[in-house]
């Protein structure tokens, strides 16, 4: 089980602020693709990703038990 936190406008599109995904092991890239397709989340092309509170690259691997946060940079000020 992968635990996913959604911030800012991702929440609204998905309708909740957290997701659970049944996966043993998946790359950040694949994970994004999967969620993007399922929820029509165009914004996932424009997010930072953290795995267990650490900055992650596209090819990093997310494992069951990990918490992934998708953080869209907001620009207001």
């Amino acid at each position: 089980m992968i635990h996913i936190l959604l911030f800012a406008d991702l929440q609204e599109k998905v309708g909740k602020d957290q997701l659970e995904l049944e996966e043993e092991s998946i790359s950040v890239k694949e994970l994004k693709k999967k969620i993007k397709n399922e929820y029509g989340l165009l914004q996932l092309d424009q997010v930072m990703t953290a795995i267990n509170e650490e900055y992650a690259m596209e090819n990093d691997i997310v494992k069951s038990g990990d918490t992934v946060a998708f953080i869209p940079p907001v620009s207001g000020g």
Binding site: L5, F7, Q43, M48, Y55, A69, V74, S75, G77
Partner: protein, 335 residues
């Protein structure tokens, strides 16, 4: 010094720290919500000199979250930097405050960086943040990124030649973040960002490096989330701003945002180096007003203006001959 007595009682600052704070010069870029609150804090804390920069004037919809301004500023249409300076001097007449009503660009910012110890990011768009990022890497000045929208926000402290820079974190991302004018904002989101920014500022001003936050903070006050992301891994040797062979892309004329008044058309053209993702932009703009769309462009009527966004990064703002006004509107909508 009775004025700062409670701040000096705070052990990490003390008398020595207060003295340092009083000798420092901070530049605050933007006097909107983040800029107001940052400037208010730093003036009250006794920072020796503040430079304020903003291109805009105070409007009624600002009062909900921009804590330096009153109804009178709206009625008189005072430029924000000027209204901010006036209020700040009433709060603290012992410090030096310089206000500039201007648009931030490579050429307008560069002369103002002399002697600056720290820059507070209070801008409302990533074009200007990348400009800041590259410029402050070049001149080795620390800065504190901040942004907010809805009930969320983020903050991150950038030390040249040390921490990953904003480009390291976002370079691959064609950034056009959500804006307060598209998804709204509540005032505590502003203060939450500023609480982090000001604390980091105080640490830097008293030269207390070891306490600095090394993670990027994101939060959502409405949904009760708070997230710290360690970013050491993000530092890139090949980064064009903070890597081994920097070329500071945002300082390059080709890539800077250009704007020009189109003669006799009551229209301003803004050209950014980034292409627009029209689908995503459309989704965002639809919250504000009906959007007309075809394969090449999208257009929207907003207040008394009409904006036309092209895929190649150009935007036409019809209804004004003022570059400042056009940029304000542009960044309010497109981030």
């Amino acid at each position: 010094m009775e004025r700062y007595s409670r701040q000096m009682l705070f052990k990490p600052i003390g008398k020595v720290g207060q003295q340092k704070i009083s000798e420092k010069h901070v530049l605050i870029l933007g006097c909107g919500a983040l800029g107001s609150a940052n400037a208010d804090n730093l003036a009250r804390a006794g920072v020796g000199k503040l430079t304020l920069i903003d291109r805009d004037y105070v409007e009624i919809s600002n009062l909900q979250r921009q804590q330096l301004y009153t109804e009178q500023d709206v009625y008189n249409q005072i430029p924000k930097a000027i209204a901010a300076k006036k209020r700040l001097q009433e709060i603290n007449s012992e410090i030096d405050i310089e206000a500039h009503v201007m648009d931030a660009s490579v050429t307008s910012l560069e002369p103002l960086l002399t002697g600056i110890d720290l820059v507070m990011d209070a801008t409302d768009n990533f074009d200007t943040r990348f400009l800041l990022n590259d410029m402050l890497q070049k001149y080795s000045i620390p800065w504190i990124f901040g942004s907010c929208v809805g009930s969320t926000g983020m903050s991150y402290t950038i030390l040249p030649n040390q921490t990953p820079c904003l480009r390291c974190l976002l370079d691959a991302i064609p950034v056009s973040g959500a804006t307060c004018d598209s998804v709204g904002i509540i005032s505590p989101a502003v203060q939450m960002v500023v609480a982090h920014q000001t604390t980091e500022a105080l640490k830097i001003l008293i030269e207390n490096q070891k306490s600095l936050r090394t993670s990027l903070v994101t939060f959502d006050l409405w949904n009760n989330h708070y997230h710290m992301m360690k970013v050491d891994r993000a530092k890139k040797q090949t980064c064009p701003a903070c890597g081994e062979n920097p070329n500071y892309p945002a300082l390059d004329y080709q890539s800077t945002t250009k704007s020009e008044v189109l003669c006799g058309r009551n229209t301003v053209q803004i050209r950014t180096s980034q292409k627009q993702n029209l689908n995503l932009l459309k989704e965002r703009l639809e919250r504000i007003a009906p959007v007309k769309v075809n394969d090449f462009l999208i257009s929207i009527e907003y207040e008394s203006y009409r904006l036309v966004f092209f895929q190649d990064g150009r935007t036409l703002i019809h209804g004004t001959n003022s570059i400042e006004k056009a940029k304000s509107i542009y960044y309010q909508l497109a981030g």
